[in-house]
Amino acid sequence: MSVPTRSRRSLPSSPLAWVAATMLASLVLLALAGPLVWGAAADRPDPSAVLQGPSAAHPFGTDNLGRDLLARVLTAARPSLLLALSATLLGAAGGVVLGASTAVVGPRTRRWLATLINLLLAFPALLVALFLAVVLGAGAGGALFALAVASVPGFARLAQTLAAGVSGTDYLAAARVLGLRRHRLLRRHVLPNIAEPLLLSTTMAAGTALVALAGLSFLGLGVQPPAYDWGQLLNQGLDRVYAQPLPALAPGLAILYAALTFQLLGEVLAGSAARRAHAPQSPPTAPLPATLPAPLPVPDGPAGDDHVLQDHVLQVEDLTIELPTPAGVIRPVRGVSLSLRAGEIVGLVGESGSGKSLTALALAGLLPEHARVGRRTHRLLGADLTAMTRKERHHHLATGLAVIFQNPASALNPSLRIATQLTEAIRTHRGASRTEAAAQAEAALRRVALPPSLLRSRPHQLSGGQRQRVMIASGLMVRPALIIADEPTTALDVTVQRQITELLSDVRRDTSAAVLFISHDVALVAGLCERVLVMYAGTVVESLPADRLATATRHPYTRALVESVPDLTADRDRPLRTVEGGPPDPLAPAAGCPFQPRCPHRRHRCAEDVPALTDLDPGHRVACWYPLPAPAKATAS
């Protein structure tokens, strides 16, 4: 595994990791050196000191032949650990091959294998181990084999579950199409991708195996005298545990110590695996800035934006969001201002990572707990949300605005009937009675052209388009002044998309609610909205009437974005316009205009100063030092 995070991996990072590493090192050392150093003392009988208690010469006492028990416990580390590890590895190998091969075999064989694993799992592992140990005859080899076989089903099930995740991936499908043979699929694609969790559970299982083997030896089924391991010593010490507890306790403590080591090791490995999984999925980044970048200058709004705009449903000034990530604090939204009048439909367009969805979540007060939000003004229906208590704000947001999400399947609770989900909000926030609420729910469903009989259905009985209609109906229940629709049609087919956008237009016309329509689809927004805000790297780079999107954009990014969309009349012999490069790294924002590195029109100033959103003419604002010239015909309308 050549993951380039070696520096983070090689050194234990937490105190727990140090403890686990030290304990493991002590066990390894003991297993290697124990028999060499104490082996002779452990086997030397001393008829003069039979069955003695603890003394200076024999700290743990002696056994029935007068051998030193401390030396025997220390020497027994090697056989005990070796047996446990071999049993675990043997069981893991068998189980993993059995389980993981379900990902690469044909459907029929897969069914047989799954049935076999289920069948094996039905037998309790310890019972199988005991049974096999008895059948195979008492002895170290028999115990080892019995334990290995008993642990196969558990590993097989784990590997099967993990491999099922890999078998659905496109890369395995692509490898099949390449004609790779099954063992190669297993070795190259399946096993490496399930190795990490398997390694963790193998480590944990080693601890369990150690205890189980000691148990078998204790019962007389494992290691046979004159050989001995910790279980054997425990067995011998137990006869006189009431007279002298220490000879029995010492091997017990050794077992406990070793089992604890493996458990701790597993915990530490699991912890570091989880941390790696949370590492950012973006390209490797430049060194992190030691401190947060200085706050961006507040964009100079036109006069009049700073006081309360009476006819505005929503007014937000200078919204900034900070999110802590394992690699540092990022600011995915930096200084966004927007306002919506009643009955207005405004589009918020941007590509993934532009901050458009986070902006929506911030407006609705739905950001995750750890996000930090800064804004100068945040008014909904004229009320200042920044001055409210948490509870007041929650109530005001819940009754003033509705949010429609991208995926209606996950936004609806699958176990509740539609009626319950529709009436929940008004019963909580408006104190409506059950019959009132039911009547309103029926009206809301009719509003979105769904039959009232759907009230008794559950979400899974509806199609994607119907679910999105239910989401809109649910939003309408509180009679919101503002509807925030976050990519509401992205998961839907194009014919259904058309129906949903028309429904949103109708709702806006009939209820005069303002709609903030968030989308990555420039063409869709251009056809639906009156005004459009274009976001790039957490800032609004252009704000313009929607009918200017096609031909009269002034920001180089907006124009490139618009020109990169193929339409049905596109000339098929000319390449589409593309934007070279990628969006800026959120961890290391550069100075100047965020689009500057990719901009074909950049000049010296662009790399130094951040352009503010400034008015070109009423209704058209652009954040660019050198806006593109407007086409002659575009200033009309």
Partner: protein, 281 residues
């Protein structure tokens, strides 16, 4: 140059409520060196068709013919025979590449799947392939998670091209990408198709993107192909009501200002109830 012909291809699955016919007797002809677009909405069976053509899903009926010879079969040998000539690129750039393998390992695996190459030839091949799709050769030693979505999708395309196939199936290869990235991937695939003389089946739900790369477009609806026509003819004069519904639903940038209906009302739309995927007739 190879022609691919699908003849009455049928794919059935065992659904929770009995067998589901995902692809229902589809016949499609992809002449040598041309791109045929296959457009349809979710659940129309287009991805099932793609998986069936490359042998990932067994056929329930029909034949797949490559240059006049029937191909297919369930053995590894048959799959290798097919894989040498027909390759596929999938939709999701997140799972398209093995997260544990570098770009170089992924491409070398594909390049050596059907032929032996020594170390030096392998390295040259990887560099040549990256150059072909316009990727920086320095990306060769990156892992998939260190690449952007567009770069990953290019690597997936490169992997498919590494075996020098005659036919490429592109299954929704741009649907998970941002608009500006989609444009560059579309440009790349169109250039490669012409440059290498590939026969291509380009599957998608985004009608403008499919039309942009395709010479002929087939419209799929509920497991059947309802219309096949040269791209310009299909756009100018769609015959099937479903094709017309699709065309009128596509948002267009140069739409009239809002307030008034964006396009004439759609008589065809109410006739299309939501698709209950399991109850295909």
């Amino acid at each position: 140059m190879t022609a691919l012909t699908l003849c009455q291809v049928t794919v059935r699955y065992d659904g929770p409520h009995g067998p589901v016919t995902a692809v229902d007797g589809v016949s499609l002809d992809i002449p040598a060196g041309t791109t045929v677009g296959l457009v349809g909405e979710s659940g129309s069976g287009k991805s099932s068709l793609a998986r069936a053509v490359v042998g990932l899903t067994p056929l329930s009926g029909g034949r797949i013919i490559l240059d006049g010879r029937e191909v297919g079969g369930r053995t590894v040998r048959a799959r290798r025979h097919l894989g040498r000539r027909v390759q596929v690129v999938f939709q999701d750039p997140d799972t398209a590449l093995d997260p544990r393998m570098t770009v170089r390992q992924t491409l070398e695996e594909a390049a050596t799947a059907f032929r032996r190459l020594d170390r030096r030839a392998r390295s040259e091949r990887v560099a040549g392939l990256l150059d072909l799709v316009g990727l920086d050769p320095r990306l060769a030693d990156r892992l998939p998670r260190q690449l952007s979505g567009g770069q990953r999708q290019r690597v997936a395309i490169t992997r498919a091209l590494a075996v020098e196939p005659d036919v490429l199936i592109a299954d929704e290869i741009t649907s998970a990408l941002d608009v500006s990235v989609q444009a560059s991937v579309l440009n790349t695939i169109r250039r490669l198709q012409r440059q290498l003389g590939l026969s291509m089946l380009f599957i998608g739900h985004n009608l403008p993107a499919v039309c942009y790369v395709s010479d002929v477009v087939a419209v799929m609806h509920r497991g059947r192909i309802v219309e096949t026509a040269p791209t310009t003819a299909l756009l100018r004069d769609p015959q099937h009501p479903y094709t017309r519904a699709l065309l009128t639903s596509v948002p267009i940038l140069n739409a009239p200002p809002p307030g008034e209906p964006a396009a004439p009302a759609l008589p065809a739309l109410p006739a299309l109830p939501a698709l209950p995927d399991e109850k295909l007739s």
